[in-house]
Amino acid sequence: MRFELQHQPSSTIAVCNLEPKETLVSEGGALMALKGTVSVNTTTHQKGSGGVLSGVKRLLSSESFFLNQYQTTQSAQVWLCSALPGDMLVKKLNGEKLVIAGGSFVACDSNVHIDLEWQGLKSILSGESLFWIKAKGQGDLLLNSFGFIYPVHVDGEYIVDTGHIVAFEETLQFNISTASKNWLQAYLSGEGFICRFKGKGTVWCQSHNPKSYGQELTSYLKPRG
């Protein structure tokens, strides 16, 4: 399986070249086009893991309920896209673990195992997704972003606004807190939550925050009438 990114960085799409017997797992709604004979199965979970519950969990992480599995007997191509303008990132996993922020996952090789991880009570208060996706295994992973992606190699400590996180290596420890020292000020300032990373590893950040964009737009939208 080989991902090829086109039209970077503002209107990126990914072309996935599938070889026989390979399976591509993608988030529901990401498909743009198919070439070749491809069978598509829609499930709520990956093979051999969880059931409907994992679909519910995925909903909570602002991913879609269903996963699509693409299989082929001849070589085929699957075009994948994302809803917001922005870039994509292909990350090859070699046994290591990656934590992906809700909404950033697009697709992966079926040899990559994805699961959800509860982020604790604080994440509810922060208004961010309750779950982050944890990926491990062997194979390629496709992520998307709002805007462009910049990697930061952390050695020591680093701070990222939670709305700007795409993914990070599991070797990093993290702690979610408010940007200001006190909660009242944090609430009044409209400032989001930040993630303080510690240790050694890479965090991939996105240049723009989908939630801020949504908030700016929402103020002009009409209520249902």
């Binding site: 960085p9 462009f148 606004d161 940007a179 200001s180 964009y213 002009y220 939208l221």
Partner: protein, 221 residues
């Protein structure tokens, strides 16, 4: 201080390096990522009443963040804006400029933000009763939705209200109907701004209001 606009023009952000003891004032929520040596202080955007006026009349935040480098090394911060688009940098040497509400991202140096009465005509055009004035010595950064068009005006020029990004005090704004009364209504152009005077203005190629209008017609039919 070393500030660069990075990214393609569709998605520009600021990459800012601060030397020890240097500081930058950033719009609330605009910090994307930062080194830990930069300590934020949340402060009111001016005095209490100024901040209140800025929030309710100027569409700006009541609180802003002041990042100070307390470490002994150069520290980096990435500053983003809400919409996709270009970021503009402007050095002020005592002069005054006006900005569209919500476009301010960051400032360094001695720059005062004020809300100024813009007249009822602006309110009708959906621009608010007040305009945002930036004056002083220093640098400000502001963002736009889409790309920026710079236009040298001498005489009159007409702009749709959501697309005017920056203008100097030498330019006066006048509210006008886009066409006749019925035409303006039917064409959905509504009111437009007539700029009069001499000076350089900046326009943005997209408007959030425009996108919202487009979405609104598609939502609840």
């Amino acid at each position: 201080m070393n500030v660069k606009e990075v990214g393609s023009s569709a998605f520009q952000i600021l990459e800012c390096e601060l030397n020890p003891k240097e500081s930058i004032t950033v719009e609330s929520g605009a910090m994307a990522s930062q080194d830990v040596g930069l300590v934020p202080t949340t402060v009111m955007n001016g005095t209490f009443f100024q901040a209140l006026a800025l929030k309710f009349f100027g569409g700006e935040s009541f609180f802003i963040n002041h990042f100070l480098n307390v470490s002994a090394k150069v520290q980096k911060i990435h500053i983003s804006q809400t919409t996709p688009g270009d970021i503009q940098c402007r050095k002020l040497e005592g002069e005054e400029i006006f900005l569209e509400a919500g476009s301010f991202i960051a400032r360094a140096g001695d720059i005062k933000i004020k809300t100024k009465w813009a007249g009822f005509k602006n309110f009708i055009a959906g621009e608010g009763l007040f305009k945002l004035s930036f004056k002083g010595h220093g640098t400000i950064w502001y963002g736009c939705y889409g790309a920026v068009i710079e236009k040298e005006i001498n005489g009159t020029y007409i702009v749709d209200s959501g697309h005017l990004l920056m203008w100097p005090p030498t330019i006066n704004l006048k509210l006008k109907l886009a066409g006749g009364l019925i035409d303006s209504f039917l064409s959905k152009e509504g009111f437009v701004l007539q700029l009069e005077g001499k000076g350089k203005v900046q326009l943005q190629t997209r408007s959030v209001k425009g996108l919202a209008q487009w979405l609104n017609t598609r939502f609840w039919r």
